[in-house]
C-alpha cells in the first residue's frame, strides 16, 4: 500500500452503479423478459412484471466537450428523470418509461446534432482511438477518419437495412487500442517506412537491451554509431510495427507521405452462429488524405455495399465471405490480391489453403 496523508482519499474505486439506475431498472433488475427494437435506435425491454423500459440510443463523436455532456444532462433531466448511460461503443442511451416522450426526445437529439440509431442490423458507432488528437504513436488521425466514414455510411446508422450487425473499428497504429483485430470492417493506421534512429539521443534515452528485445522479428541489433552505443535496424527484417518506438523515444517511424491506412474485414466477437474470428487483410495500403480520407471512405463504402447486396439475413461479413469464399470476395469487391495478403509471420502456414476444396472458375 502506498504512503498517504490522513485526509487524502485513495483506492475508493468507482462510485457504485446502483445510485445511477432509474427506478424501473432497480425494480426489475435481473427480471427482464424480452426485448424488441420498436424503431431504429429505440429498444423496448419488457420485464416479467410487465414494466417497460425504453432506451433511446444516440450517436456521439466520443470526443466530447463538457458543454455537450452538460447538454446530455439537461436532456436527460427533461425527458427521463436525469438517467442516461453510455454504451460499449460510445453511444449515449436515454432511459425512459414514458413512451410519449420518445419522439420528442429523438427530435431534440437530432436537432442538437446527435442522431438516433445504431441498433439491430445497422452500422453503429465506430470504435476508435486517439489519433493525432492525443497519441504519440498515431500513423493516422482517428476522429477525422471516423467522422468522414460515418458521414458517408450514415444511412446505415439510421436505418436497419443490413443483413446483420456490421461493426467497424479504427485504430491509429498497430497497438490496436480497440476492436480492429475482430471487426467486420477495420481501418488501421500503418507506417511503411523504416524506423529512423537518433543515434545521438538513443544512448541516454533508451535501454539498448529492451529496445533490441522489443522487435518481434529480431530486426534490431546493438551497434556503435559515431563511437556511441546505439542500435541499427536490419531493413529486410522490419515490418514497421513500431514496437521499438514504443519502448524507445529516440526512434521514429512517422512519415508524412508514406504513413497511411490498411483495411481489414471479416472479424467478429460475438459467439452467435460462428465462433469469434479475427479480421483479415483486405487492402494493404491507402494514403492518408486529410481531412476526409476519400480513398479510405470509398473503399469502406464499397465493402459495405457489396456485403449488403450479397450476404444473407443474420450473416456477418466474415460469415458471408466464409460461405462464398475469399476468391469471390476479391472478385466482387474488385480488390486486387497481392503477396501482402499472404501471411508470412510466425503462424503463417496455418493460413495456407491445404486442400483441393476450390471453387474452380470455369475455363474460357
Amino acid at each position: 500500500m502506498a504512503v498517504e496523508t490522513k485526509e487524502r482519499r485513495t483506492d475508493i474505486g468507482p462510485p457504485h452503479y446502483e445510485q445511477f439506475l432509474p427506478p424501473v431498472i432497480k425494480k426489475n433488475y435481473g427480471k427482464w423478459k424480452y426485448h424488441e427494437i420498436v424503431k431504429p435506435g429505440v429498444l423496448l425491454t419488457v420485464a416479467e412484471s410487465g414494466d417497460k423500459l425504453y432506451s433511446v440510443r444516440a450517436a456521439t463523436p466520443r470526443l466530447m466537450s463538457i458543454e455537450s455532456i452538460r447538454l446530455f444532462a439537461d436532456i436527460a433531466d427533461e425527458f427521463c428523470g436525469g438517467f442516461l448511460r453510455f454504451t460499449s461503443r460510445n453511444n449515449v442511451e436515454f432511459l425512459l418509461t414514458d413512451e410519449s416522450k420518445i419522439d420528442p426526445l429523438i427530435a431534440r437529439l437530432k436537432k442538437e446534432g446527435y442522431p438516433v440509431g445504431g441498433m439491430g442490423p445497422s452500422i453503429t458507432n465506430i470504435v476508435h482511438t486517439q489519433g493525432w488528437v492525443h497519441c504519440h504513436s498515431a500513423a493516422s488521425d482517428a476522429s477525422g477518419v471516423v467522422k468522414a466514414l460515418m458521414d458517408e455510411l450514415f444511412p446505415h446508422f439510421e436505418k436497419m437495412d443490413l443483413p446483420g450487425k456490421l461493426r467497424i473499428a479504427f485504430a491509429c497504429c498497430l497497438n490496436m487500442c480497440g476492436a480492429v483485430h475482430c471487426s467486420d470492417i477495420a481501418i488501421l493506421g500503418v507506417h511503411t517506412r523504416l524506423p529512423v534512429v537518433s543515434h545521438a539521443k538513443l544512448g541516454s534515452m533508451c535501454e539498448i537491451p529492451t529496445t533490441v528485445a522489443s522487435c518481434p522479428t529480431g530486426a534490431i541489433r546493438p551497434a556503435t554509431v559515431d563511437g556511441k552505443p546505439s542500435v541499427e535496424v536490419i531493413a529486410e527484417q522490419c515490418m514497421f510495427c513500431s514496437n521499438c518506438f514504443t519502448v524507445c523515444p529516440a526512434i521514429s517511424l512517422s512519415d508524412a507521405e508514406k504513413d497511411g491506412c490498411s483495411i481489414w474485414v471479416g472479424g467478429k466477437v460475438s459467439n452467435a452462429r460462428q465462433e469469434p474470428m479475427f479480421s483479415k487483410l483486405a487492402i494493404p495500403y491507402l494514403p492518408n488524405n486529410p481531412p476526409r480520407w476519400p480513398e479510405v471512405v470509398a473503399a469502406v463504402k464499397n465493402l459495405v455495399e457489396v456485403y449488403a447486396k450479397h450476404a444473407r439475413k443474420f450473416e456477418r461479413m466474415g460469415e458471408w465471405i466464409g460461405r462464398v469464399g475469399w476468391p469471390k470476395f476479391f472478385e466482387l469487391t474488385g480488390i486486387p490480391f497481392t503477396k501482402y495478403h499472404i501471411d508470412d509471420f510466425t503462424h503463417a502456414g496455418e493460413s495456407f489453403k491445404r486442400s483441393a476444396h476450390l471453387r474452380q472458375k470455369k475455363g474460357e
Partner: protein
C-alpha cells in the same frame, strides 16, 4: 495568443455532415486556451500528415503508479498552451450508468482543471479526461475522489474492468455483470493503482455469449455468461415469428445453428440441447419465443490481446462453467493464482496469453491448480512432441 482564434480550414471541413462532429466538440471548448491550442496543433497535423505529440514522461498522482498518461507537444513553441497535455483515466461506474447530477460534477471539475475535452469513453472503459498539466493532476484527483470517483488503470497493472449492461436492462444476462465488475474492481484496487505485473491485465464481463463488451477479444480475462440446461421454448411465440415472416426459419435459423442441433417441422421447434453450444443465435432471432435455460453461470476465458508482439489472441477457455455467486471467491482465487504465477515467471511486456503459450497450457493449468479438460481445446494436439513425465502415470488400462 489564446483569445485569438486559430485558423483551422482543414478541420472546419469536418464540421459538416450528419454525423456528430468532434471538431464542433473541440470548438465548444475553445474558450479554454489549452483546447484552442489543441485545435491549432491538430490543424497542423492535418496539414503535415504527421502526429505532433512526443512520448510521455512519468507523471501521476501521489501513491499511484498509473491512471495518467503523460503527453507533450513537439511543436510547443507554436502551441504553448498544450505543450503539456496529459490524460487522466477515471474509473467509470459499472455499465456506464450516470445521472445528470454526477455528470455535471465531472464537467465542473474538468472545466476548472483541464481542457474541457473528454472521451466518453476510452476503449478500456474509463472516462478519459483529455489534456491537463502536471500541476493540475493532484488537485483534479482530489476533487474527483471527493465526488466519489477514482483513477482507472494504466501501465503494467490490472486495468479498469468493464462490463455490458447485463441485468440492468438485458433479459439475457446470465449472471450479474455489473455486480461482479464492481466487486472485482473494489477488491483489486491495489493491483490497479500500483503496477506490479509483467504487463497490463484486463478483465471484461459479458452477460451472455453475444459478448457485447467484446471481452473475448479485448480482455486478459473474459467472463462470459452461459447456461447448462435446456433453452426454454414458447412454441406459440415461435409460430408467431414464423407467421410474421421476418425470417426464414429453416434457412436463417435452423441452418445457421453451428451444430445443426435444431429441428423445425413447420409447427414445432425441437432443440437437441446436448449438442447446443449456447451460441445465442436462435434466441437472438426470437427473443420473445426462446430464452436461455435457468441453470446459469459463466465461462472463464483467458488471454486475449492486440497483436503486439506475438500476434493477436482471442481468449481461450480455462473454466468451462462456473456459478457466479457472491462473494465470488472462486473467481478471485483463480485470478490470484494466475497473477502469482505470471508475476513470477512472465517476461517484461509479456501478456498472460503469450505467457501461457510460452510455458504451455498444460503446465500452466498444473501450476495454477486446474484440471485439464477437453473443453479447453478445439482439438487435442496433432504433433507427437510430448513431454512425457513418468510413463507409469500415462499408462492406461
Amino acid at each position: 495568443m489564446a483569445d485569438q482564434k486559430r485558423e483551422t480550414p482543414r478541420l472546419d471541413q469536418l464540421e459538416s455532415g450528419p454525423w456528430p462532429s468532434f471538431v464542433k466538440e473541440l470548438k465548444k471548448s475553445r474558450k479554454n486556451p489549452m483546447t484552442e491550442d489543441l485545435l491549432g496543433q491538430l490543424e497542423r497535423s492535418y496539414e503535415d500528415k504527421v502526429v505532433h505529440w512526443k512520448h510521455g514522461g512519468l507523471v501521476g498522482v501521489k501513491g499511484y503508479g498509473g491512471g495518467v498518461i503523460g503527453r507533450y507537444s513537439d511543436v510547443a513553441a507554436e502551441f504553448p498552451k498544450c505543450a503539456e497535455f496529459h490524460t487522466m483515466r477515471i474509473n467509470q461506474p459499472a455499465g456506464w450508468f450516470y445521472t445528470s447530477t454526477v455528470l455535471r460534477k465531472i464537467c465542473d471539475i474538468w472545466e476548472k482543471h483541464g481542457s474541457g475535452i473528454t472521451n466518453m469513453h476510452g476503449s478500456t472503459g474509463d472516462v478519459i479526461l483529455l489534456g491537463t498539466t502536471t500541476p493540475e493532476l493532484e488537485p483534479t484527483f482530489q476533487e474527483l475522489t471527493a465526488a466519489g470517483f477514482d483513477l482507472g488503470g494504466s501501465g503494467s497493472a490490472m486495468r479498469t474492468p468493464s462490463c455490458c449492461c447485463g441485468m440492468s436492462r438485458c433479459e439475457w444476462a446470465l449472471y450479474d455483470t455489473m455486480a461482479l465488475t464492481h466487486d472485482l474492481t473494489m477488491t483489486f484496487q491495489d493491483e490497479m493503482h500500483r503496477p506490479a505485473f509483467p504487463y497490463k491485465f484486463k478483465i471484461k464481463c459479458s452477460g451472455c455469449p453475444n459478448d457485447c463488451v467484446a471481452s473475448i477479444a479485448r480482455a486478459d480475462m473474459s467472463i462470459i455468461g452461459t447456461w447448462r440446461d435446456d433453452i426454454r421454448i414458447d412454441q406459440d411465440a415461435v409460430r408467431a415469428y414464423v407467421a410474421a415472416g421476418t425470417f426464414d426459419m429453416s434457412a436463417d435459423v435452423v441452418d445457421r445453428c453451428p451444430t445443426r442441433c435444431m429441428h423445425w417441422d413447420g409447427k414445432k421447434l425441437g432443440i437437441d440441447d446436448s449438442n447446443c453450444v449456447k451460441c445465442m443465435h436462435c434466441i437472438n432471432a426470437m427473443p420473445k419465443a426462446l430464452r436461455p435455460g435457468t441453470d446459469r453461470g459463466a465461462v472463464i476465458l483467458i488471454g486475449s490481446k492486440a497483436p503486439i508482439m506475438g500476434g493477436a489472441l482471442l481468449s481461450s477457455v480455462i473454466v468451462p462453467f462456473l456459478k457466479i455467486e457472491t462473494p465470488y471467491d472462486d473467481i478471485k482465487e483463480v485470478t490470484q493464482a494466475i497473477w502469482d504465477l505470471w508475476a513470477e515467471h512472465g517476461k517484461n511486456r509479456e501478456r498472460v496469453g503469450e505467457f501461457i503459450q510460452r510455458i504451455g497450457l498444460g503446465s500452466f493449468l498444473e501450476q495454477i491448480g486446474l484440471e485439464p479438460c477437453p473443453e479447453m481445446v478445439m482439438q487435442p494436439r496433432t504433433n507427437p512432441y510430448i513431454f512425457y513425465e513418468d510413463e507409469s502415470e500415462n499408462a492406461e488400462g
